[in-house]
């Protein structure tokens, strides 16, 4: 049972391969994403993050979820040598870069707690898989062509409840729409996809690795349990040393 909705400004898909999948359970997952958006969006007037940014909430009154996100953000900032930071140029909190992967992971946990074993949750191209697909094979995931978004340029197979996340920029990378950006230096790296032990881990390191640009793939190479596929502006991909194992449908990693 598969359903897609547009929430938080992006398509979110829940696909349950288990035969006993119930639509009402999938609705609960979408409700969870709505809750996350309402709480964490810095663009919503009444979100907790906006209230914190406006100094309307004392630190001791932060909700448990916000405390958790702030702690995880601090940890990620250290682990990425400061490349990951939820405080923006104006000194305000914008935790979007960590909340998405975290929310997908939590949503997958909710499904697991409902008793499902085989499913994936996809929010805007970041995906957490569990178990196997409807054919009882490993989940088969395409990596999108950053220059031609209706095309996939790589297929990977995820088995052990892993996550995959891609960070990058399509429109800016192509310089199609923004005439003003012609003066800007074009990014060398247009997209980096990370396979990790779960989507939360994959997403936060994808964000940081993309910020590191060319150095990002080296950073991932040094991390145990992570693989990366990085694409530069000339359409040349560079991958970490064990990435290709994931392109084999059957291999037992």
């Amino acid at each position: 049972m598969k359903e897609t909705r547009l929430l938080m400004g992006m398509p979110i898909t829940v696909d349950i391969a288990d035969k006993n999948a119930a639509g009402s359970d999938i609705n609960k997952i979408f409700d969870y994403f709505k809750y996350v958006d309402k709480k964490f969006s810095p663009f919503k007037e009444n979100s907790e993050i906006t209230k914190i940014n406006n100094g309307q909430v004392k630190e001791e009154n932060y909700s448990e979820d916000v405390k958790e996100i702030f702690e995880l953000s601090e940890q990620t900032k250290k682990e990425t040598y400061g490349y990951f930071d939820i405080i923006d140029n104006n000194g305000k909190y914008n935790p979007s870069g960590i909340v998405k992967g975290w929310a997908i992971y939590k949503a997958a946990e909710l499904l697991e707690n409902m008793g499902y074993k085989n499913f994936y949750v996809d929010a805007g191209g970041d995906i957490q898989v569990y178990g196997k697909n409807a054919q009882k094979d490993n989940w088969k995931i395409g990596i999108k062509n950053p220059f031609k978004t209706n095309e996939i340029i790589k297929v990977v197979y995820l088995d052990k409840n892993q996550g995959i996340a891609t960070s990058g920029t399509y429109i800016r990378g192509q310089h199609i729409y923004n005439p003003k950006s012609r003066d800007e230096k074009m990014s060398e790296i247009v997209s980096i996809s990370i396979i990790g032990p779960n989507v939360y881990e994959a997403d936060r390191f994808a964000t940081a690795a993309f910020a590191m640009q060319g150095e990002g793939v080296n950073f991932i190479e040094k991390l145990d349990g992570f693989e990366a596929y990085m694409i530069d502006k000339n359409g040349i991909a560079t991958m970490t040393s064990n990435f290709e194992k994931y392109t084999n449908a059957k291999i037992n990693r």
């Binding site: 398509p11 979007s96 995931i141 062509n145 891609t166 729409y177 991909a237």
Partner: protein, 165 residues
């Protein structure tokens, strides 16, 4: 250059599609998003293995090349769309109409996924395997890609074009 033309024309088609939906739309504040919200609409594009690009969605809705059917329907001028939430940030566009046609879309605001981006580009890559990317034709369960800001883009653009009509 040709890629740019194709994209621009796709955007134009999308815009017309959006405009028509907008015109047909009810009193809802956000007919475009509501339309995309329909599960059937999205799953149809998902089966196409694509996904969520604006031009394709709108093209499907229009059922063809609308760009040539209705030229010159906008009033000349520059119209700034509303600022729309695309999760990573706000998207805001300006639509430029010349001779009744949408000739340019400028981004006034575009969310940065790479908030800490660096201008350094001369990193020495490690001795890792490289390859030229190549299109694959496989059925997949899901697709990983950077978050597109398409819905925010549609929202802002439709609001700009509603002023131009």
């Amino acid at each position: 250059m040709s890629a740019k033309k194709i994209l621009l024309s796709l955007v134009f088609i999308a815009v017309l599609g959006i405009y028509i939906i907008y015109q047909r739309g009810s009193s809802s504040n956000n007919p475009i998003l509501n339309n995309n919200n329909s599960v059937s609409g999205l799953s149809a594009t998902n089966q196409n293995q694509n996904q969520n690009t604006v031009p394709q969605n709108a093209g499907t809705m229009m059922g063809g090349n609308a760009g040539q059917m209705m030229p010159g329907r906008y009033k000349d001028g520059q119209y700034t769309g509303s600022s729309a939430n695309a999760f990573y940030g706000m998207v805001q566009v300006k639509a430029i109409i010349i001779g009744g046609r949408l000739t340019d879309i400028q981004f006034l605001n575009y969310p940065q996924d790479n908030r800490n981006s660096l201008s350094r580009s001369n990193y020495a890559l490690p001795q890792l395997k490289s390859e030229a990317i190549q299109a694959q034709s496989a059925n997949v369960n899901a697709i990983s890609g950077a978050t597109e800001t398409s819905s925010g883009f549609i929202q802002s653009l439709s609001s700009a074009l509603s002023q131009a009509s």
